[in-house]
Symmetry: C2
Subunit: 486 residues, 2 copies
Amino acid sequence: MLRIALDRDARVPLYRQIIDQVAAQVRAGQLSAGFRLPPVRQLAMQYGLTRLTVHSAYAELAARGLVDAHVGRGTFVSASALDQPDGRIAGEAPGIGPGVLAELLRMRERPGLLSFAQAAPPPASFPREELGAALQAAIADAEALSYGPIQGDAGLRSELVSVLAERGVRRPPEEILVTGGAQQGIDLAVRALVPPGGTILVEEPTYSGVLELAAQSGRRLAGVAGDAAGIRPDLLEAACRATEPRLLYLVPTFGNPTGMSLAPDRRRAILRLARTHRFYILEDDVYGRLAYDGVSPALAAEDSAGRVIYLTSFSKMLAPALRLGAIAASPGVLAMLAGAKQSSDLVSSSLLQRALALYLRAGHLQGHLERVCTLYRERRDAMLAALARELPECSVARPAGGLNLWLRLPPGVSERSVAADAIDAGVGVAQGRYFFPQPQPSGFLRLSYSLHEPEQIDAGIDLLAGVIRRHEGTLARARQVAAPLV
Amino acid sequence: MLRIALDRDARVPLYRQIIDQVAAQVRAGQLSAGFRLPPVRQLAMQYGLTRLTVHSAYAELAARGLVDAHVGRGTFVSASALDQPDGRIAGEAPGIGPGVLAELLRMRERPGLLSFAQAAPPPASFPREELGAALQAAIADAEALSYGPIQGDAGLRSELVSVLAERGVRRPPEEILVTGGAQQGIDLAVRALVPPGGTILVEEPTYSGVLELAAQSGRRLAGVAGDAAGIRPDLLEAACRATEPRLLYLVPTFGNPTGMSLAPDRRRAILRLARTHRFYILEDDVYGRLAYDGVSPALAAEDSAGRVIYLTSFSKMLAPALRLGAIAASPGVLAMLAGAKQSSDLVSSSLLQRALALYLRAGHLQGHLERVCTLYRERRDAMLAALARELPECSVARPAGGLNLWLRLPPGVSERSVAADAIDAGVGVAQGRYFFPQPQPSGFLRLSYSLHEPEQIDAGIDLLAGVIRRHEGTLARARQVAAPLV
């Protein structure tokens, strides 16, 4: 029997409480496959809810594959409800619907799947020998296992000075804060600089992690459209007038998801707007060093007014499990970020910080980046060639770096259906709508080409093209059927 | 010349903006030693501030040693303003005044200081050989350097089942979330369960990290007094009626800072209140396995209503630089916590998680805990003996585990002055007021006995006793001088 305990004072909406509890009871085996959920009307009456609330919960449960809805018969726990891998629970986080990052990470774990869904370095690229040696050297000092300074290991911050200088960012070690990857850097900036209810501006489309974070932490989001040259300054100015933003989140170099970079003249215009409207720009530069056809310096390199907070991470350029990134900002802002770091998780691992410092001091990074950029260039070219061959009707731009392609689907083809069918066919892709503040069909897919070798990329694009063509065929038949009725 | 740019829309109070900017300019060398700050009245008029605002800023700058105030002459940048170590900036985080955790970590780095200020395991205790071997074994699998599941490595979560069972907490791996230490666990619970403006209840006194976090994140705090048997249920009930709390943060076993544990009958009363008033209890059990005179099971072990969120960490029992802890909670709550984890820093390091899993699987933890508990028992006894000998006038209770003693100072002796003079004498202590929601003189010091050997503890208590006796002497003389005037 279905029992639900609703907390009307909770921050979690009622429909989501229903979802969570049904899901938990299915997982716990308290509701087994074939169990019929109470009709919407009955559950609504029983708990004093609107029918819309119950309907929303059932619809989301169906979308997750936990229940099947049969018109006229009712809603039943799905026979495949327990096929979810263990990590599934993470995808059920409240705040925003799809739990997109969780979905990507989960897909990645699905054995045999060709994943174009996650922008991550391939395990074969990790410099395990050098990092292993650096770890052994670091652990020889017992202090490496202690707490360290909140701002980050002094030795690592010294090394970071030159890492940042490669992107034109000149900051002394005292103006650098070590973070737990770029995601934590974004979180710290939001915590320190945007009050609850305050507005964060983002380019449309943008990195999904910032969208989930804003939704969960009670900050407002306003999207500003971009084009091939990046975010549009005229629309940004209008958004500034409308919203009084505290922070503009940008990926100016090899943007996520589009792979495109912000044009030089727009950079100057945007810096001017930041000064005039007194907001900070959080520059997420995680892809900046993954350049294979040339690159501009970071936006922060042009900032003379202390308005740009520069953020980078070693997750894309080296190895995600280091969980290390860095923020550079003016002293006043950095002090606020350090305060947020302290409340978030106190410090990042001294051991990993010292190992990374040793790795950098040994001069390993440059060679590693050259190796992986060669690899990624090859993979980008393989994917572009396969797309041109198999899907000439889908337009795609050629990124000069980073890990992502942004593919426009043929008109009318549903990204959601394509993504779902692609998984069944053995290929993971990221739906474009995940990268917009208001998730709605975008007509795009994000394809990351980093994880697989050119032959696998060929095979994966073949499979994806097959799926897209089937959808085009269905659409064409539907149009033919519909035509005589007009 | 002093230039200040105030942002009246910022979340940071104006007086703190002044502090941050003066501090930044001193550090940057723009204001040098001996520079005279504008008089309070002048700065207030110039920027349209109240004199109280400017006065508060100057007072805090003086308290930090950045400026010296000379009555009748003015306020000057201190000659020793630049003597602050590099990590200093972290202590200047806004939100709450003293930046206590930062201060503790900084003190810890001061060479030669006998530190009783930080509750941390001594570097000599770290099982470097076993952890080093586990790291090498983990890195042999390239996947260990990838992202992993948000909820945490499945292998580690399996091992955590038995770690939690040792404290009477029975949860399957699916109901466990890996966190970046206990501090992140607290942050996740606050993010997921307490809306901005919502109330967190804490015992008075309590762990200072939760106080800073609440202040920074815009949650309200309400303190509930405790006594030798822990938090008082009658006062807790009154606080529930007054504040409608979402969360009660507790350290029921070997509490921080007092070292005392919550009595069994109070545990039942508090669980009843959580059910009645429908709040969650966040049980911080970081000291639970550091028991050397017997221990009760965790509070979560008695919870049948899913009201207790159990939190532990390997920072105190093994090594802080692992930055790994765990939360166990009912599935619905865990899903919310996982969502918060994802937005905070995505995942904890797979490499460190897998290494810890290997260390636990090899059965190393139990032996390690026996060794460190022997060590800590000896150190506790050494400190209690030295205190009884040198400071019989100061009362102190005998903790059965954990790392902390709570020392009551003689009446009238200022903890702030004692703490400052103790550092000059070569001993770091934590002022009691840091552990209260409203920082005001508490008449207590927290003394952590974990970092030093018995002989050093003896020497440190001798030095501290000298400082306290000097303050008692000054007080006695002041009373003698004052007496004839009455």
